[in-house]
Amino acid sequence: MLKIKNIEVVYDDVILVLRGMSIEAKKGSITVLLGSNGAGKSTTLKAISGLLKSEEGKITDGDILFENRSLKNRNPEEIVSAGIFQVMEGRRIFGTLTTEENLKVAGYCRKYGKKILKNKIEKIYEYFPHLKERREIRAGYLSGGEQQMLAIGRALISEPKMILLDEPSLGLAPLLVKELFEIIERINRIDKITILLVEQNADIALSIGNYGYIMENGKVVLEGSCAKLRENEDVKEFYLGISAEGKKSFKNVKHYRRRKRWL
């Protein structure tokens, strides 16, 4: 469904952040993208959604294909129309708008009639009954968990074919994280929306994903089915926090060596 082919992304004409990054997300699947801070995960998502432009970023090489059409350097509104919706890192709720207005705005580009929009919003409230109670409240006053639900609700309003999720679990309590990932799975299975998931919480991400990629320094260094990745020694050690030897003093040395190999 979505193919990223060897893209190179440059910020401010000089800062090379992605170099030969390639991933593929199959239709109907959950694809997981892991990597340490600054590896370029968010940049990859913004390259897809066209938000790079507003940060002086540009795809200088390679191509991004969605249903065999190139999305390279298109405007964000064209990409939303094509059916890809990004839920940005940090949720980015419109704090001065009410909960319901946040949902309305998300339907803006689809130009729904009043009635259809209302039905769609009702459907979101069925998914997240909590939001319904808070519909008239300024979204800035919602709790972190509610804001994350709202962010996902906004994505669903525009009925995308694919959702890009950037660190949805950020700052949520463990119980909420579990609930959130159940919702993500449900959106994938029931609403048949393809998902590309960027996460720091590798454990839970790999448990719901089908296929995964691990990136370092702007490119993929490891890939495989999520089940396989969970068994990989490096992944276990660096992302799942399980070390085979468990000896602390050697860990740092090893960390350095392994990291070297990946770079």
């Binding site: 959604s49 507003s54 990409i79 001065t96 708008l97 207005e101 803006y108 580009c109």
Partner: protein, 294 residues
């Protein structure tokens, strides 16, 4: 006491026009973070467009009023496309300088076409004032006030209920997040300029209708600064309250202080108040407090 109320009323009438200009100013600032120094000249342009339509083309006032509104919006759109759009992404300070240039150009164009003398609209209301209890108000002032209030209500409804209005607020709140919703921010910028030029133009027509017009109308734009800074640069209700407050203060200081010192206080008072307000509340009465991220 009657004198006092009379001053208050004329202050509110004047202030509601400041509020209209301030509203346009805040609209542009909220959507694009640009301080538009040509807001007063947009008002002047509106006033002259209406003058050309009524006096020179002999179009009846009401039709002329609506045609002028459309032309003002069009002017805003043209300015946005020709001048502002190519500058998106440039430093804000250069864009602000461009708006100063724009104000000079607009003024020069008006002077070239219509000269510098004061012109008047054909009278559409009888000069017979209306008595409201002990005070009397001219019909054109009353019309001005009613028109301004109607506009404020329309704006409120527009921002609260229309999808474009809500999208404009979303863009003002978080531009990049708005883009991620598929909102075309360039379109929103253009709409902001159109609406700002439209409300300023209406302000110009209302003033022209009360006092006649000349090129110094652009000076009204200066009053927008105390008004919006009082109200908070990014607050629409703030712009309205700020505009009316400045109008009332100006009227009161003109009525009570000017006779004592021989005139001039009226012009200075709004700015004096502005200084005091800024000392107490740096973000204005209704502005969003911003914490600079390091």
């Amino acid at each position: 006491m009657n004198y006092f109320i009379q001053l208050i009323v004329s202050g509110i009438v004047l202030g509601s026009i400041y509020a209209l200009i301030a509203l346009g100013f805040v609209l542009i600032y909220k959507a694009t973070r640009v301080l538009n120094f040509a807001q007063g000249e947009l008002l002047m342009a509106g006033a002259y467009i209406a003058f050309a339509l009524t006096v020179q083309l002999h179009i009846p006032f009401w039709s002329a009023f609506f045609i002028a509104m459309l032309l003002c919006a069009l002017l805003g759109l043209i300015i946005e496309i020709l001048i502002l759009k190519p500058l998106i992404g440039e430093p804000i300070i250069s864009i602000v300088m461009i708006t100063i240039g724009l104000s000079i150009v607009l003024k020069a164009i008006v002077e070239m076409i219509w000269g510098t003398e004061t012109r008047v609209y054909p009278a559409i209301f009888s000069t017979q004032p209306i008595a409201l209890g002990a005070i009397s108000v001219s019909k054109s002032s009353l019309f001005s006030l009613v028109a301004a209030i109607t506009l404020f209500i329309i704006f409120h409804l527009f921002f609260k209920f229309s999808s474009t209005g809500i999208a404009m607020r979303a863009v003002a709140d978080d531009q990049q997040a708005a883009q991620s919703m598929g909102i075309n921010i360039k379109k929103i910028f253009a709409i902001s300029w159109m609406v700002a030029a439209l409300v300023a133009g209406i302000g110009g027509i209302l003033i022209g209708n009360m006092n006649g017009i000349n090129v110094s109308l652009g000076m009204f734009g200066l009053k927008v600064f105390p008004a919006v800074i009082l109200g908070g640069l990014d607050s629409i209700p703030g712009a309205i309250i700020g505009g009316i407050t400045i109008g009332v203060l100006e009227s009161l200081s003109g009525g009570y202080l000017d006779p004592l010192v021989g005139g001039g206080v009226k012009m200075v008072a709004p700015f004096a108040i502005l200084l005091v307000i800024l000392l107490i509340k740096p973000y204005g009465l209704f502005g969003t407090e911003e914490i600079e991220k390091v």
